[in-house]
Symmetry: C2
Subunit: 362 residues, 2 copies
Amino acid sequence: MSTTPPSTPPDPSPPPRRRATITDVAREAGTGKTSISRYLNGEMSVLSPELRARIEAAIARLDYQPNQMARGLKRGRNRLIGMLLADLTNPYSVEVLQGVEAACHALGLMPLICHAANEVEMERRYLQLLTTYRVEGVIVNAIGVREETLRPVGGGGIPAVLVDRRVEGLAADMVGLDNGAAAELGTRHLLEQGFEHIWFVVQPFEQVSSRQLRVAAFDRAMRDAGRARGHTLVLDLADMDTLARGLAELDRAIDSSSGAGARLAGAMSRIALFAANAPVALRLALHLKARYGANWQTRVALLSIDDPDWAELAGITTIRQPTYDIGYRAVEFLHERIEGVHTRARDCLLPGELIVRASTAR
Amino acid sequence: MSTTPPSTPPDPSPPPRRRATITDVAREAGTGKTSISRYLNGEMSVLSPELRARIEAAIARLDYQPNQMARGLKRGRNRLIGMLLADLTNPYSVEVLQGVEAACHALGLMPLICHAANEVEMERRYLQLLTTYRVEGVIVNAIGVREETLRPVGGGGIPAVLVDRRVEGLAADMVGLDNGAAAELGTRHLLEQGFEHIWFVVQPFEQVSSRQLRVAAFDRAMRDAGRARGHTLVLDLADMDTLARGLAELDRAIDSSSGAGARLAGAMSRIALFAANAPVALRLALHLKARYGANWQTRVALLSIDDPDWAELAGITTIRQPTYDIGYRAVEFLHERIEGVHTRARDCLLPGELIVRASTAR
DNA sequence: CTGTTAGCGCGTTCAG
DNA sequence: CTGAACGCGCTAACAG
C-alpha cells in the first residue's frame, strides 16, 4: 500500500457550517416554522403564492434538507424498513434485493440492508439494531433465528415478512419459491432425460424450511416415478471435514456408475446431480472439475435450483427462481402490514422456471 | 402464485402496546430519566449498585430498547454511515461490502447500504436521502456523480471516501486497487506466456478513473515490451447494439489470427483477451462459448481483473483485488474523518494478486 | 450519587 | 392564511 498525497490544495473546505434547520429557513424567509413545515409536507393550497415563493427561495439559498430523524421522531414513523439477508454472496439474495429496492422506491420506503453473512449471532444483533432504529417493518431471509428472537418483531411488535424460509412457530407472511413444484419439475426433467441415478445434493436442511420442502418433493417425485427413492447427499459447505467426506461418497457413486468397471459391464450410464441451490451447485462443479478435468460434464449431469450467471457459461440446467418478484412482493406484503392490514398470515408461492442447457440435454 | 392461509389461529398478537420509553423505565424503576440514561451509556461507576439493579430489572421487565433516532437527534451523531454501491451484481461490490461491514462492526458504525444499480439518477437520489438521514459519512463507489453532487458531501459537508474510482475535482480520500500495477502485471504475464496478439477489453472509461488507469497501464506495458501498442476494445455492456458491433470486431480478429487462413499460413497463434473487470470477462466468455463452443479456450486465452467465483470453474487467469481490505480501509479512513482528522485527501492503493489458471498457462 | 431542567429539529394543535 | 407553544425520546449541564 502506498499513501500518496494528491496535487490538490490543503483542503479549501468552506467554513464547515452546520446544516440549516427549519428554524433557519423560517428566519430566512421571514415567517414561522409552521409554514415551512406545511410547505415541506406539500400542503400548498394553504400557502399564499407569495409566501410560497419566499420559502422556496430560502430553502434553495440555505440548501436546506429536512432532518428525517427528527421527523421520524415526531411522527412516529420514519419510512425505514429492515432487510435482513442471510448471505449476499448468494446471487439469489442480490436478485431478491433488486426487487425489494424497486418496491421500496415505489412505496417511498427506505430499506436498511443488513448482511448476516451466514452467522446466527450477526443476525440476532442486526435484528436488535433494527428494532433500536425503530424500523417500521422487517423482511427476513433467516438463517437461524428462532421464534423467540423474532417475537418482538413478528409478534406484537413490528411487522415482519419472511423470504424463502419460514420460522417455526411464527405466524408471519412469507413469500418465496414454490419449492415443491420446483423440485418436482427438476426431478421429472431428469427422469425424462433418462437418468438412472439421481442424487439430490443439499446443505443441512433441518433448520431451513425451503430445503426441507425441496428434499421432500424430490423424494416424492422419485417414488411416484417408481424408483424406490432418490439418493440424498447432505453437504455442509461450511465444514471442510464433512464436506470432504460427502464429496468422497459422491465420487464413489460416480466411479461405480460411469467408471471403467461399469463401462466394461455395459452398464455405462451418466449420473445426474440435482443441486438444491447455487452455492451447492458451484461447490459440486468445482469439485468435479478438479477431479475429472475440464470435461467432467461427460461423466456427470448437473441441474440446480437457482440460475447464477455462470450457469449459462458452464452449460448446466437450472430452475430459475422469480427472485425479483419475490423481493417486490415481500415489500408489498410488508407495506400492507405497516398500513394496518390485520388479516392472518399469508403465503405467496411463486413458480420456478426450468432452463434446459447442454448438461442434461441428450 | 397461490395465497394459502396457513393453519395458525387468527393472529394471537398481544395488545400491540407501544414500545417502552426511557420515561417508562424511570417510572418502573422509581427513579429519574437521567439515571437510566447514565446506565445506558455505561456510566456504571456513578450508580449505586442498588439503583443499578432496579434499573436492570425494569429494563428487562419492559423489554426496553433505547431509541437510536432520539439519541442521534440529541447528540448530533447517529453512528450511521452511507455505503453507496454502483452495482451489487458485481461480485467486487459484495466483497468490498464484507470488509465494510466488518470494519463498521469493529468501530460501532451502522452502514446504510444503497444500491444504485448502475443508474446515475438513483445514485443522486440516494446521496440526497443519506444527507437527509444525517449520516455521519459516506463511502462512495461512484457511477456518474460529479463534483457538484458530492459537494455538499465531500466538501464542507459530511466526510466522504471514494472506493475504486475518483470523482473529478473532489478532494476526498480514496482507496482502491493499484490499477497501474495490476494492469501491468497482467500484461507482463501474457507477454511472458508468449501471446502475440493481446486485446484489452473494457467498458466505456471516460467517466471511470480506474478504467482509465487500467487502459493506460496496459498501453504503457505493451509499448515498453516493444509492441507498438495494444489493441483496446471498448464494450458497452448496457447497449446491445454497440456491444454486438464490438464483439463482431473481436470475432474478426480471432478468426484472422487463429482461423483456417492463419493456420495454413503457419501463423497460428492463440489470441489473448485481457478483461478490465469481471462483468466484461463474463460477457466475453459467454460470447466466445456461444460462438466457438465449449472448447473456446483452445482458441482464445482470457485473463481478467477481478476474481469471481466462476473463474476457477472456467479456468481463466485472474488478478484478484484485495476487496475485503479495500472495504475495511475505506471505513477506517472515513472513521478518522468523522473523528475530526483534517489532513489533506489521502490515497490508499492496494496491490492485486495474479492467479494463473489453465487459460493462460502453456 | 441522584433528580431537575432545558433543549436537539421537527410536526401539530390552537388561537389569532 | 400564519405564528406561538408544546412534546416526540433522549442527553447534558446544573443543582442537590
